[in-house]
């Protein structure tokens, strides 16, 4: 009788272990379904080599992105509506993530597509207003285009007289995610929702 009971328990335990193992295997091989973006999975392409200059006048290259998850938004500091909304959303996203290890694994970059006006000093002042951990970077257009073309991020500076301080710049409203191997892993289209992005990023970072 007691023999019987323990063998039933053993079978139940084995079934449980197999069940958990199987669901873990299936989950880890299934493409991640994001609430608020697109996960590229197997199609994630490695970024080409590029070189920007960050807010501290240090180079920001592909190698610099290795080993962490990088969130990038492309805009310009003279953009008073959309860019502050995106940066505030990114700040709220980080604050909405419960797991401190996930937050630690993420780095937010604000990449200016207006290198004429956005000097590293201006970028430093600008990004720290939203979150002290954010990093601003930019580069002359020919250098910048290497990165933005690879990411499919459109941007265009309006024609303007030399020295003008008030021209506009069209730019993508998307937030992109680069994985710790330097691959373009996911895209979050505008308008973004901080709570949904926080859940998506938690899932991504915890499962990879």
């Amino acid at each position: 009788m007691s023999m019987n009971k323990s063998s039933i328990a053993l079978v139940a335990l084995a079934a449980l272990v197999i069940g958990f193992g199987l669901s873990w295997y299936l989950a880890s091989n299934r493409p991640i379904q994001l609430e608020s973006g697109t996960w590229f999975g197997e199609q994630a392409r490695p970024l080409p080599d590029f070189e920007l200059t960050d807010q501290n006048n240090r180079p920001l290259t592909r190698a610099e992105l290795m080993g962490k998850w990088s969130l990038m938004f492309f805009g310009y500091t003279n953009c008073p509506d959309i860019c502050p909304i995106a940066l505030q959303t990114l700040d709220r996203t980080l604050r909405s993530i419960d797991d401190p290890d996930v937050v630690k694994a993420l780095q937010v970059y604000f990449i200016s597509v207006d290198p004429e006006r956005d000097t590293p000093q201006r970028l430093a002042e600008y990004v720290k207003y939203f979150n002290p951990t954010f990093i601003g970077a930019t580069a002359p257009l020919e250098k910048l285009n290497k990165l933005t073309r690879a990411l499919g991020i459109a941007h265009e500076i309006h024609d303007h007289p030399a020295g003008s301080e008030t021209y506009g710049v069209d730019h993508s409203g998307a937030i992109v995610l680069i994985d710790p191997q330097g691959k373009y892993a996911a895209l979050f289209g505008a308008p973004q929702d901080a709570a949904a992005m926080a859940r998506d990023l938690t899932r991504i970072v915890e499962h990879n």
């Binding site: 509506d81 008030t166 993508s172 409203g173």
Partner: protein, 133 residues
């Protein structure tokens, strides 16, 4: 009844047919020259009216802009005139219509500015805009 009420109200106060609410300015660090401003204008008049401009002593200029998304790209388009139909509300809000404001001095959260909106009938309306973080 409604027309009667309007007839009673109109002669009392000039521009009582237009109300401004939720007027605020998004603060940005001093290094950035432009600020976005938002407000809601309600027209309770029986006739349409149009906003043709804004100005304020503390600002070099104030423009009206609209953020539009075309093929995933954000563009800011200047707007010269904005009609508000009878009994309609015009909303300037984040991600859409907004004021592009160039303050003469850096702004701080909590600051308040007097701004004047100009209408196509030549009338104006003063209101306060508060700076929010």
């Amino acid at each position: 009844m409604r027309i009667l009420l309007l007839l009673l109200l109109i002669p009392c106060v000039a521009r009582a047919d237009l109300t401004i609410e939720n007027a605020w300015i998004k603060n940005l660090p001093p290094v950035v020259p432009a600020r976005a401003g938002y407000l809601t204008i309600s027209n309770t008049n029986a006739a349409a009216v149009a906003v043709v401009g804004l100005h304020g002593e503390a600002f070099e200029r104030i423009e009206m802009h609209r953020t539009v998304m075309k093929n995933g790209t954000m563009k800011m388009e200047p707007v010269a005139k904005l009609a508000i139909e009878a009994d309609a509300t015009l909303r300037f809000e984040p991600g859409g219509l907004h004021l592009m404001m160039y303050p003469r001095q850096p702004t701080r959260p909590g600051d308040s500015y007097r701004v004047t909106v100009e209408f196509d009938d030549g009338e104006t309306l003063d209101f306060e805009m508060v700076v929010k973080p």
